[in-house]
Symmetry: C2
Subunit: 245 residues, 2 copies
């Protein structure tokens, strides 16, 4: 389901909906460019929808205003892997290449600020600060990818799952800083299914389930229900995640 964004299609709601401006602004490091508003459209996607298809040519460059998106890759025999999980203010699509390396699928309902790749790139080219900021973002993404690389390459199942929980908790808190909630809350409600966690960590859903079970039994977390846990011992959880005995 490719998303074509024509220039004339500018959605007037953008001008009146602070959510989208806020997301774009955050994504660009507090920098707000009026030119971008002019070429931005915004779209809603329901959970489970595919935004971009692997291998497909798409001119979409999007910034997530709300919701969670997974980037997945499918091997010829059906094995699947999630290479990245994106949320508020994260970017979908490559400024340089139109060919998408991965499927972008909505984990939850998603609000997306859409730009035409080339138009966005033009603006980037003419705004050094913006380019510099994007460089910083991609650098952070690369660092995060490398962190997961070591996890997938060298960590045990429980360590991976612990790492995933810590990571989710950090993500929550990061967004809390933007839109403060109860910061000390150890409750974590996550939108991912066991299978999604497994596909992200290179495990099977059964193993993920067992590992969460083990962390619960060991009193590191409390499993309130399938999609909601409470962190009981954050330090211990971090130690497990870092393979720090």
């Amino acid at each position: 389901m490719p998303v074509a964004v024509s220039v004339g299609e500018m959605d007037l709601r953008c001008a009146t909906c602070p959510v989208h401006h806020h997301a774009v602004c955050q994504a660009l490091g507090g920098l707000y460019l009026h030119e971008l508003a002019g070429i931005m459209t915004h779209r809603h996607f329901e959970a489970g929808t595919e935004i971009v298809h692997q291998g497909e040519t798409s001119n979409l460059f999007g910034i997530i205003a709300s919701g969670v998106v997974k980037l997945t890759r499918l091997l010829p025999d059906g094995r699947q892997h999630i290479v990245c999980l994106l949320s508020e203010t994260d970017c979908i699509g490559d400024v340089f290449s139109a060919e998408s390396h991965d499927n972008a699928m909505c984990v939850t309902d998603v609000e997306l600020c859409c730009f035409h790749r080339k138009q966005f790139d033009e603006i980037v080219k003419s705004h050094p600060t913006l380019g510099h900021h994007l460089l910083q973002r991609v650098t952070v993404d690369l660092e995060e990818a490398r962190q997961w690389l070591t996890a997938l390459g060298r960590k045990k199942a429980v360590e991976k799952v612990a790492m995933f929980i810590v990571w989710m908790w950090n993500e929550e808190h990061e967004h809390c800083l933007h839109a403060p909630r109860r910061v000390n809350d150890m409750m974590l409600h996550f939108p991912f299914s066991r299978e999604e966690i497994a596909d992200f960590l290179g495990l099977t859903l059964e193993t993920v389930s067992r590992c969460i079970g083990k962390l619960d039994v060991d009193r590191v977390i409390t499993l309130l229900n399938a999609k909601c846990i409470e962190i009981r011992d954050l330090d211990r959880l971090r130690q497990i995640a870092e393979s720090d005995i």
Copy 2:
């Protein structure tokens, strides 16, 4: 072994040694900035030397003129993982953050063009084209990291090893385009030990050895000696690497 690069320390050989200028020029997408020559020094590192240490603060930003560097991460209990293998024209160090996330170790002897992180960043800031080019490079690195992520998460040992061989072969050919050698040559001499390959692919050296053995028996490659193979059936090798039965 942190590398301090003072402004006055400019190595005059830089002006006379085309290798270094060539590497920098390639790294920056054919763009050559005279300002960079002014702040560049070059250094030689022997195989096995550590250029930057994990967790250490270093102001080095380097471009590899020749040789191979591995970026490794060490877990508290000694498990190790190689997150990236770098060669000619690749960059070491982060423009933004002084703290290094990984060890940079020389796999072979290395010639490095060194810059002071902040000085380099200043020049990047004032040259939009350069910033844009770096963004493109990091984007490619991110894409490559994600490719390995799926490999580590979902591929079998033989598939990983096949992928590694194909990747090495591509790397060779990429560099051939710069300094043309026998392009049709199916011979591949690689500088990595079995342990390094294993640490990169999230396997053990024994498994790597067995997988190479299997590819040899299956007549996909010929193992000439421990560090030299001949690719017999590139298509088949690619199929295995892509998990394409």
